[in-house]
């Protein structure tokens, strides 16, 4: 199957199963907030509290190096939380939906797409406290903020791609989730979330930039925090990197598709 066909099928399936995606995203949201009195507020409070804790700890360390550390941090936490959540919830999707897969011929990545959309709602909700923090701390809100959706495309593709790869792996290897935990923790510290690129030793930068998330997070921070437009070349590099990763995920899914039935 060619890359175009892989992508074509993928996007067509999303369209074809839009009803299911809608229902299952709302189901997950309903389930998440059903028994909590604060409901959807949690999606806003969660990143906010995380930011407050990290700011309390790191702002004194970063003193003089970063102005308004809270916003600096929050801008990077936003894409990271989405990425982390999507990857983690994608891993188990095949096994969780084994009963459906066992009797309904359905494109199996639909369940991972659903997780990704669900985390997207969280990202959207978390954007509100970011704006509040910016306004509260007197940080300038640049008009470049309108380009934010554009920056989300590589984030979406990359998270989805890695999530799909790990979901496939999890069907065959049950320790995938444990390995992913380690991988994600390492990535958290190797991405410019708590710090900026220029605080790293140059020899290290050479390697960490190979991780597409590095560029994606950096781009989003530059846009929201500094108000600088993304360099077109960097953006395209990020985009193509994420397109390749999603392609790999789709390829792995396609390749393993016939075998899932034997393992679940």
């Amino acid at each position: 199957m060619t890359a175009t066909a892989l992508y074509g099928n993928f996007f067509y399936s999303i369209y074809d199963y839009r009803e299911y995606l809608k229902e299952s995203v709302f189901r997950d949201l309903r389930k998440k907030y059903k028994r909590s009195s604060l409901g959807y507020l949690w999606s806003m409070l969660n990143p906010l509290l995380m930011m407050i804790i990290l700011t309390v700890v790191f702002s004194s360390i970063m003193k003089g190096r970063v102005e308004n550390y809270a916003v600096f941090l929050f801008c990077a936490l936003l894409p990271w939380t989405y990425f982390n959540g999507t990857v983690k919830s994608c891993i188990g999707t095949i096994r969780q939906n084994a009963k459906i897969i066992d009797q309904l011929p359905i494109p199996k990545y639909i369940f991972s797409v659903s997780s990704s959309f669900y985390n997207f709602v969280d990202l959207f909700l978390a954007f509100i406290p970011l704006l509040l923090v910016m306004w509260f701390t007197g940080h300038p809100i640049h008009s470049s903020i309108f380009l934010f959706p554009l920056m989300l495309i590589p984030l979406f593709f990359f998270s989805m791609g890695l999530g799909l790869l790990l979901a496939v792996s999890n069907v065959f290897f049950e320790d995938t989730a444990h390995l992913t935990d380690v991988l994600l923790r390492a990535m958290y510290f190797l991405c410019p979330i708590l710090y900026a690129r220029d605080m790293l030793p140059p020899w290290l930068v050479k390697y960490v930039v190979l991780n597409p998330m590095f560029g994606i997070i950096e781009g989003i921070r530059e846009l929201l925090y500094f108000g600088t437009l993304p360099n077109l070349e960097t953006y395209l590099l990020n985009l193509s990197g994420s397109v390749v990763v999603l392609g790999l995920g789709l390829y792995a899914f396609n390749k393993a598709d016939d075998k899932f039935v034997y393992f679940i």
Binding site: D16, Y17, E19, Y20, K22, E23, S24, R27, R30, K31, K34, K99, I100, I101, D102, Q103, L104, P105, I106, S169, F173, E174, D175, T176, L179, D258, K259, V261, Y262
Partner: protein, 281 residues
């Protein structure tokens, strides 16, 4: 043990079959056509389930392949005419469920071709798409959406589904609090409402009390009356011989017999008896 196709019914194999099927129907009048379907199943023995074990196995014992293939189905050809009830019987491991999965399209055959004319739906596991945390109504929406039905369309069907399942009072109770009978009723009601052209059934008639079972049978009758097809796997031989137009006897992945229900059941009993004798020895 020969793999005889379903249309053998219309030839000398089963001359006693009733007149309406004397002439072989035109190809497009078949609901399901299988041609030479082979499914090489992988049976895993002591498969490493983690990456760690796999790496250790590969490095230490130079072991990469953990499965043996065996043919769950070998060269099965079958034509099921539209509007018929086709029963499948056979002892455990004969390939009945594999055959249903192949028809349902969830298990691609290793060789051969599968053609299904019309929409196919399976009652292999009732309530497969259900979420235990949600209530009946939410689950009806969810499983409808799984079959690409828009919300507005499902909404119209909800009263009828709940009435059939006799769950109007419990419509807003999360289904994790349901009894297994209630769960099965909801599952059946949701599936029956989809009204597919071909329905695959795997021993689900054993659910619910006598009254509900009668209701299910009525649904099947109505379903058949509108020219739809049912493929049913069952161990309830008496029930099956009443319902089915034809029965296929599967034995080790091949059809040992396809034709009139009584003949199939006789043959099954004889064979079953033989296996039991050999097992005892």
């Amino acid at each position: 043990m020969t793999a005889s196709p379903a249309n053998a019914v219309n030839t000398s194999d089963a001359p006693q079959f009733d007149g309406s099927n004397d002439v072989a129907p035109a190809p497009e009048q078949y609901a399901v056509e299988l041609e030479n379907v082979t499914v090489a199943y992988r049976s895993y023995k002591e498969r490493p389930t983690t990456l760690k074990e796999t790496v250790i196995g590969a490095v230490k014992h130079r072991k990469f392949r953990y499965y043996e293939t065996f043919n769950a189905l070998s060269g099965v050809s079958l034509k099921i005419p539209k509007g018929q009830v086709f029963g499948i019987i056979g002892s455990n491991g004969a390939g009945k469920s594999t055959l249903l999965k192949v028809m349902a399209g969830v298990l691609p055959p290793t060789a051969g071709s599968v053609k299904v004319h019309g929409r196919i739906d399976s009652l292999i596991q009732l309530g497969a798409g259900f979420d235990a945390e949600l209530n009946a109504i939410e689950n009806i929406y969810l499983s409808g959406a799984l079959h690409k039905k828009p919300r507005a369309e499902i909404k119209k069907r909800i009263p009828e589904i709940l009435e059939f399942a006799e769950l109007e009072e419990f419509a807003t109770t999360p289904i994790k609090y349901y009894s297994s009978g209630m769960f099965a009723r909801l599952g059946f009601a949701v599936a029956a409402d989809r009204n597919p052209d071909v329905l695959l059934v795997d021993e689900v008639l054993g659910v619910g009390d006598e009254r509900f079972r009668k209701k299910c049978e009525k649904v099947f009758e109505r379903f058949l009356a509108s020219g739809n097809t049912i493929v049913i796997v069952s161990h309830a031989l008496g029930n099956l011989s009443n319902m089915a137009d034809q029965i296929g006897l599967l034995s080790r992945g091949e059809f040992a017999f396809v034709g009139d229900p009584m003949g199939a059941i006789e043959k099954y009993r004889a064979e079953d008896y033989k296996t039991r004798l050999t097992q005892n020895n």
